[in-house]
């Protein structure tokens, strides 16, 4: 109802500011990496099993969704995630408990490319 057309000036980012910011950001990334390399000599233990119920649930997702997962489905996604979004489950740990939450990811995101391809391949077979 309250739509308004504002003619705005083009935002121009000062290239010097951009360059300086980039430098700081890269330094922070680098420093983060280095510190981890020093800290953790030993290989970490793995604790990455995908809980079985996630697989089971893929047929009927409602039964295993995290508490807060459903009510906040992205409005843009509309029903069932819309045309260009893919529904994924995000696995998180709350304390020692595993939980999944539902989310929508754009179809062109590299993260979901391989699953898509795999599914396509499986379909062909």
């Amino acid at each position: 109802e309250d739509s308004v057309q504002v003619r705005q000036k083009l935002v121009e980012v000062d290239p010097k500011e951009e360059e300086e910011f980039d430098r700081e950001l890269r330094a922070l990334m680098q420093e983060s990496l280095e510190s981890r390399k020093l800290e953790l000599r030993a290989r970490p233990t793995l604790n990455m099993m995908i809980p079985m119920n996630v697989f089971e649930g893929s047929k009927d997702s409602r039964t295993i969704e995290g508490e807060s997962g459903e009510e906040t489905i992205d409005e843009e996604g509309g029903s069932g995630g819309g045309n260009n979004k893919v529904r994924v489950k995000v696995l998180v740990k709350k304390g020692n408990k595993q939980q999944t939450k539902q989310m929508y990811i754009p179809q062109d995101c590299s993260l979901v490319q391989s699953t898509k391809q795999k599914e396509a391949a499986e379909l062909e077979e």
């Binding site: 309250d2 739509s3 308004v4 057309q5 504002v6 003619r7 705005q8 935002v11 980012v13 500011e17 910011f21 980039d22 700081e24 950001l25 922070l28 990334m29 983060s32 990496l33 981890r36 390399k37 953790l40 290989r43 970490p44 793995l46 604790n47 990455m48 099993m49 995908i50 996630v54 893929s58 995290g66 508490e67 807060s68 997962g69 906040t72 489905i73 992205d74 893919v86 529904r87 994924v88 489950k89 995000v90 696995l91 998180v92 740990k93 999944t100 939450k101 539902q102 989310m103 929508y104 990811i105 754009p106 995101c109 590299s110 993260l111 979901v112 490319q113 391989s114 699953t115 795999k118």
Partner: protein, 822 residues
């Protein structure tokens, strides 16, 4: 006590929600994350604004903080982002991976977990690690980027400001961006601008100016203590004690008005303990006597009359409400519509048309027929989200405003809010609107409930007392008890308050139109009301923040009525005035290119009187709705130099003097001649209430009052009934005959107040039948506008000198005006 409610009320209810981005104020939960460093815990959004990185990334980089937590209403809920495998929380190391076959994703750190090959065997695809921070922004599908609309309405923060505030947070984690802008004690405040980036910048400019004015006002008023005051006691109809006393007005700007709070003190004597009580001014008599209604009846030393002291009790309410409105405007995006928001800030917006069915007739029942320019104004205003109506003197502003409000109220968009800066104007408007048959409630400040009002039957407090329904009998019973006893038991008082509040609410909700002052629109009793349509009369006499108070209650359509060619708001603090606080919103909108609809037919002045103002202030567009015949003073035998031209400039060469207080001026010769002119009017059959004497100087005003009552040739009482006032206080009013005393008569100094063309306009346009101006042409002619006024009078043979019964045309030479008046 009655003061409670307002004082505990927090203005600017659109409080910064805790999770609003600390840089820009965006508060959409899907768009913000919280920095998880315990000493920080600030929220930031994922928009870039004017910077190369998003706000959250900016913060993390600048502060070297590395952990974040999502909002509880985001898709993942309140979650600290961490590596699923090792729990590492450094967001600069985190990214998503997905399972090979299922649509399952997890966060994994780049070092070391991503390099563990064994994960591949566990069905995870490590080839597509998707970093959390990409292109200096969080993944937009995890933390949304605020929409364009949201960003437009947010604070536009620059990279420099970010650096500065981050620096400030290192020593003061609670600092705000406003702290960056705060001027030092001796700094000149930042001046007002034409356009503002956003409402935060707007607030940054206006808040310090309001503060300056408030401090000055406080200092001024609290220094007004008077000792040795003599009091006369009385009891009001509501059984409250009333103290009458003279509170002598110094020659300064302070003027008591009804509703002001004063403290009356008695230091005690052998028979009386020390006593003091606060009360409200309910009346000011012509003799400058103040009627103060005391708040408490107990212990009043009514048998004592001498030796009282009076102090002014300064209240910050009006300033608090302005500050509140500025804040609400910035942080509450529902405070005004998007269109109005951007328009007020001077952003370029595509013109919008309000789609409402227009009425067939533009007049309204109970009002006079509208003329063509009034109809045009009403019609245009109804179709626009923001409009300005310029009403030159006597052009029927109030009728036009009432007609607009009538049609707005009939559109079914909810209640209409009608405001003006002064109580007088609100009362006039309320009365006119009520005559159209609409249900009008006039909301008064609590401190003014005892003040006489010409529209008493419309006031909320009157309606509460007289609403006659059976459910209200309990309220009435308690009210009666309170009136009789002066107070109630605490349980009854509680019941009384609750019942009263509910009744007030009910009456307000049932109204079509609510009328109050601009400051009154910030009354807590309206805090839960929303008004889409707001009309502000006399808006050119209000400061911008004052005008904002009625607007931030949800406005979508606003009409500002006023006249920027007459006097603007009174600002007492010179620093604030210099910085532009005296410029009204109406004026700024005109400067931004919004063209006012001008009402063009004046119904007040004799056509000879309107000629010069029309040409000098309104580009000659003012037409006369009255004829010479309708303004003929028949039977009045007054020595006008030119018959049918009831005006003259009476040349005065008397000296100006500085008044006793040292802050104002007076001119004895002019005062003596004012008395002679008044006497001549009275002798010719004019009655005192038809005459107004106006002058720009308080010193001269006081001197004339005194002089006339001592030296008047006729009965003293006649002179007492004549209103003598400052030009400024006469704005908005009229008299049949006006005598203007200019006072200034010094070759070497300027002409002070007279320099303002808007003051001259007001002075010249108060009279209906005739005007006499007393002044020194030698001094006044140096100012270009006065020069052309004098030339106008001279050309019409109305520049005269000599005794009143033998006026002769003056041959006095004018001086060259200094610069061209534009």
């Amino acid at each position: 006590e009655e003061t409670g409610e307002d004082e505990n009320f927090e203005y600017g209810k659109g409080d910064f929600t805790e999770h609003a981005c600390r840089y820009c104020g965006v508060q959409n939960p899907a768009c913000v994350v919280r920095c998880n460093i315990p000493s920080c815990r600030k929220w930031f959004c994922n928009s870039r604004g004017n910077t190369s990185g998003s706000h959250i990334v900016n913060h993390l980089v600048r502060a070297k903080h590395k952990e974040v937590c999502l909002h509880k209403d985001s898709p993942l809920g309140e979650t600290i982002l961490e590596c699923y495998n090792c729990g590492c929380r450094n967001v600069f190391l985190l990214g998503f991976i997905s399972a090979k076959t299922e649509s399952v994703v997890v966060l994994l750190c780049r070092e070391p977990c991503l390099s563990v090959n064994a994960l591949k065997d566990m069905n995870w695809d490590l080839s597509q690690w998707c970093p959390l921070i990409d292109d200096r922004c969080f993944l937009p599908w995890l933390v949304k980027v605020p929409s364009e609309q949201e960003q437009l309405r947010a604070r536009h923060i620059s990279a420099q400001q970010i650096n500065k505030v981050e620096e400030l947070w290192k020593t003061n984690p609670d600092a705000t961006l406003e702290d960056l802008e705060k001027p030092g004690v001796d700094d000149e405040p930042q001046p007002v601008a034409l356009k503002y980036e956003d409402a935060y910048q707007y607030q940054n400019v206006f808040a310090p100016l309001i503060k300056l004015e408030a401090d000055y006002d406080k200092m001024m008023k609290e220094s007004q203590s008077k000792d040795n005051v003599t009091v006369r006691w009385d009891i009001g109809l509501n059984k409250k004690r009333i103290a009458y006393f003279v509170f002598p007005k110094e020659d300064n700007e302070l003027r008591l008005v009804p509703g002001d709070e004063l403290r009356l003190r008695y230091s005690g004597d052998a028979a009386h303990p020390a006593w003091q009580s606060v009360g409200h001014v309910i009346k000011l008599t012509a003799q400058e006597e103040v009627a103060l209604e005391l708040r408490a009846n107990q212990g009043v030393p009514v048998d004592v009359n001498h030796g009282f002291s009076v102090d002014f009790v300064w209240k910050s309410t009006s300033f608090d409400r302005m500050q509140g409105a500025l804040k609400t405007f910035a942080v509450d995006e529902t405070s005004v519509s998007g269109y109005i928001y951007h328009h007020l800030l001077g952003h370029e917006v595509e013109l919008q048309i309000v789609r409402n069915t227009l009425p067939r007739r533009f007049g309204a029942p109970g009002l006079p027929e509208l003329n063509a320019s009034q109809v045009f104004a009403v019609k245009s205003v109804l179709q626009k989200p923001i409009s300005l109506i310029q009403g030159p003197p006597g052009t029927g502003k109030t009728v036009t405003s009432a007609a607009i409000v009538y049609h707005m109220a009939k559109q079914g968009q909810g209640q209409v809010l009608v405001c003006a800066p002064s109580n007088v104007a609100v009362d006039q408007l309320a009365e006119k609107i009520s005559s159209t048959g609409l249900k009008v409630v006039r909301l008064c400040a609590k401190s003014r409930e005892a003040v006489m009002s010409p529209v008493e039957h419309l006031t909320l407090h009157y309606q509460v007392r007289h609403l006659d329904t059976s459910e209200k009998s309990e309220l009435h019973k308690l009210q009666q008890l309170k009136d009789e006893q002066g107070e109630l038991s605490s349980s009854d008082e509680k019941k009384f308050k609750a019942l009263k509040r509910a009744t007030e609410r009910e009456i307000l909700q049932n109204a079509d139109v609510i009328c109050c002052t601009c400051v009154g629109a910030g009354d807590p009793r309206l805090s839960n009301f929303r008004f889409r349509q707001v009309l502000i009369d006399e808006s050119t006499q209000a400061t911008e923040p004052e005008c904002l108070i009625p607007l931030v209650l949800g406005v979508k359509q606003v009409v500002l009525v006023g006249d920027h060619c007459q006097l603007g708001p009174v600002i007492m603090c010179k620093k604030a005035a210099r910085a532009g606080l005296a410029q009204s919103l109406f004026e700024r909108l005109v400067l931004l290119g919004l063209k006012p609809f001008r009402l063009q037919v004046q119904y007040r002045m004799h056509p000879s009187l309107s000629e010069f103002p029309s040409n000098s202030f309104y580009e000659g567009t003012l037409q006369n709705g009255v004829t010479i015949n309708e303004r003929q003073s028949s039977g009045i035998d007054f020595p006008w130099p030119v018959p049918n031209r009831p005006m003259f400039f009476y040349v005065q060469m008397g000296q100006e003097e500085i008044s006793a207080s040292g802050t104002s001026y007076l001119n004895r010769t002019e005062a003596a001649n004012v008395e002679k002119i008044v006497t001549s009017f009275l002798r010719s059959g004019v009655i005192p209430s038809q005459i107004g004497v106006i002058t720009p100087y308080e010193g001269q005003r006081a001197y004339i009052v005194n002089h006339m009552s001592r030296n008047g040739a006729l009965r003293q009482q006649l002179y007492k009934e004549i209103e003598v006032a400052s030009v400024d206080s006469f704005q908005g009013r009229e008299k049949d005959y006006i005598i203007l005393s200019c006072v200034r008569s010094n070759e070497h100094q300027g002409i002070g107040f007279l320099n303002d063309p808007r003051r001259l306009n007001v002075a010249l346009t108060r009279a209906r039948y005739g005007i006499v101006i007393l002044g020194n042409p030698k001094v006044l002619s140096k100012q270009p506008l006065w020069n052309s006024l004098l030339t106008h009078y001279k050309e019409h043979e109305c520049l005269v000198e000599g005794p009143l019964n033998n006026l002769k045309q003056s041959m006095i030479q004018f001086q060259k005006p200094k610069k061209i008046y534009s």
